[in-house]
């Protein structure tokens, strides 16, 4: 407990943009075959430092096979909400779940160069207290830390639907299930909210048997992955509306609400449209009578390719699908970054008018049947995937692995983990930085990135921009 609010907590998104820039990034190190222990890499992102662009510390956990994926902070700017009374928490711990093991590590990063494990929550505790498995997205909210899960109970995670559980934000004790009325929600992936407007939005990937052993082509072609987004009364813990994006819109993943809590809209990325292999972004919003709406506002076409250049999974289609697997919105709600992991492209859209996004920047690196090198001449395996934007919006970082078994299906000949960074022009435009290229240690891939002091997919702000 501090006597003053943590200096990295900001009342508004605007103030967060003006705060000092990040010096360190924390990035997942994942051993895809479980032969080594997973970990968190601490990356020096201060261009004035001698060790710029290097991994300067690693927290390697004692177990193997956890499969790290997404992770988040124990506290963020949401602590400044006077409704919750947690203003004096420290942004100090990373909550790192293993999506394969369901084990959760609490890592103390107060001194990033001496980051260490603070507490481990064993899978049995998660199962017993929540009935869920395979923890995924982390956000700090009204009653503590909210954790979404991808699986229900039982060995294959299909005994009951997955959902969200709450953890105490100081002791990290698991409190229990969030939902009181989940409505028709039976799959889960991401979630985020607007705290003052008291709504939450959640999305769907698929159930564990649909992803753990690799993508199940028959399920995809018969539209059995998730294609709905759910709107919740946050504090009543009740699903108030479900929007079906259409069953051809397979895998509705990242939910990115506008950061300014005065706005009642946001975005959701869809991996693939099974009718035409397009990737898509939906804009969702609340209309004047309080009903939620969603409309497809971005489509990205597949690229035709000869079957012989494609992995077996795609040969029948003779095309490379964009595979929109991550999106991220800058803190000024102006630029939406869209990772096209299949094509090997990072797109930047101006979404000042959220109903009419405009493509203003693009980087090509990696990609199926293309494998474009980084501008520094080094290879970039797979394609651009987990993307994170600096608070000031000037730097965009990304890594290249999607998910262990899926990487191997879409890129059977690739290996390696990279983290790169692109600089953003004042009015858009995106260019890879030649000097920032992190090659991960042998046998490791990389996934989500968190920036010291918060980033664009962490903090929830409680006060409108002025």
């Amino acid at each position: 407990m501090n006597l003053r609010p943590d200096p990295t907590f900001h009342p508004t998104a605007q103030l967060a943009m003006q705060a000092p820039v990040e010096n360190y990034a924390f990035t997942v190190m994942l051993s895809p075959d479980g032969s080594q222990s997973d970990g968190i890499a601490v990356v020096d992102v201060n261009p004035k430092s001698d060790t710029y662009g290097q991994i300067v510390h690693k927290v390697i956990v004692p177990h193997k096979g956890d499969e790290f994926h997404h992770f988040g902070w124990n506290a963020c700017s949401s602590a400044l909400s006077p409704l919750t009374g947690h203003a004096f928490l420290e942004r100090r711990y990373l909550i790192v779940p293993g999506i394969r093991s369901s084990r959760i590590y609490i890592i103390d990063v107060k001194d990033p160069l001496k980051a260490k494990i603070h507490k481990t929550i064993e899978p049995e505790e998660v199962f017993a207290k929540t009935g869920y498995s395979r923890p995924h997205t982390i956000h700090c909210g009204p009653e503590g830390i909210y954790v979404s899960t991808l699986g229900g109970g039982g060995p294959d995670g299909t005994d009951g639907p997955p959902g969200i559980f709450i953890m105490d934000c100081e002791t990290f004790e698991i409190i229990g299930q969030y939902e009181m009325d989940r409505g028709e929600q039976d799959k889960h992936y991401d979630f985020w909210w607007n705290l003052p407007q008291d709504y939450m939005v959640s999305s769907e990937w698929g159930l564990p048997p649909q992803f753990e052993g690799g993508i199940v082509a028959e399920d995809l072609l018969s539209n059995k992955y998730g294609h709905k987004i759910h709107f919740w009364d946050l504090r009543k813990r009740k699903n108030i509306q479900t929007i079906d994006l259409g069953e051809n819109h397979q895998m509705a993943l990242e939910i990115r609400p506008a950061h300014d809590p005065k706005k009642s809209y946001g975005f959701c990325g869809v991996v693939v449209d099974t009718t035409n292999l397009q990737g898509a972004i939906f804009t969702w919003w609340r209309d004047d009578d309080g009903t939620w709406q969603a409309k497809k506002t971005i489509t990205i076409d597949p690229r035709p390719e000869k079957a012989e250049n494609l992995p077996p999974l795609l040969q029948g289609f003779e095309a490379v699908p964009p595979l929109v697997t991550d999106i991220d919105l800058s803190l000024d709600d102006r630029f939406l970054y869209v990772a096209c992991w299949g094509m090997g492209e990072m797109h930047q859209y101006d979404v000042n008018d959220p109903m009419n996004p405009k493509l203003v920047g693009k980087v090509e690196v990696g990609g199926i049947a293309r494998g474009a090198d980084h501008p520094n001449g080094k290879p970039f395996a797979y394609g651009p995937q987990m993307v994170e934007i600096s608070r000031d919006g000037k730097r965009v970082y990304w890594t290249n692995s999607l998910y262990s078994t899926w990487d191997d299906q879409f890129y059977p000949n690739d290996s390696g983990g990279q983290m790169v960074m692109a600089n953003v022009g004042p009015d858009g435009g995106l260019e890879l930085d030649k000097d920032f290229y992190v090659d991960f240690p042998e046998g490791y891939r990389s996934h989500q990135i968190r920036l010291e002091g918060g980033d664009c997919s962490t903090d929830s702000f409680c006060y409108p921009n002025v």
Partner: protein, 213 residues
Amino acid sequence: MAALWGAVIFSGFYHGVNPGMGWPLAVSAALFEQKAAALGKALAALALGHFIAMTAILLPFSMMLTLAEFQREIRIGAGLLVIGLGIYLLLNRRHPRFLARVKPTQLGLWSFLAAMAHGAGLMLVPIYLGICAVDELDAGHAAAGELMTANIGTAFVVALTHTAAMTLAGGVLAVGMYAWLGMKFLSKSWFNLDVVWALSLILVGALGIWHAG
């Protein structure tokens, strides 16, 4: 006597400046609706909740005061209760989770619950009992019925004065931030008052017992 009323007003200011009693919510309301009137409306809701919490605590004590022969015991008991809550808050520094379940639109309810959970009303009890004791000396040997009416009246006046002072202090901060200082001031001006608050309860309780004895 003036000191006791001064304490009522001072405690009001003290509660008012504490962000935990809600003034940032008034700023937030004004920013959301983009008009200053929303700030006033939110302050009024917060004040109403606080006022009800104060009277809910003070009224039972005003009833008890009709048991004139137990005056001293009541005052000592109340003092101990307040000290007890202070010690509890000192040892248990967790915030009540149920407050987070209140909807952001229910500011009055939130303010009532926040005041209750932090013992804002209890903090007033020893001061209130002190005022009643002085009143009684002045009144001489009035009938029990009259005394009770007077005590209830005093409870309302104490709660009202305290709430007015609280609203004024919180209002000045809220308007200042909304109109001039900007949101940066919010995180800069927010101090952790948990320990000070718990110690205040212990202090007020101790003073109450001391005066009763």
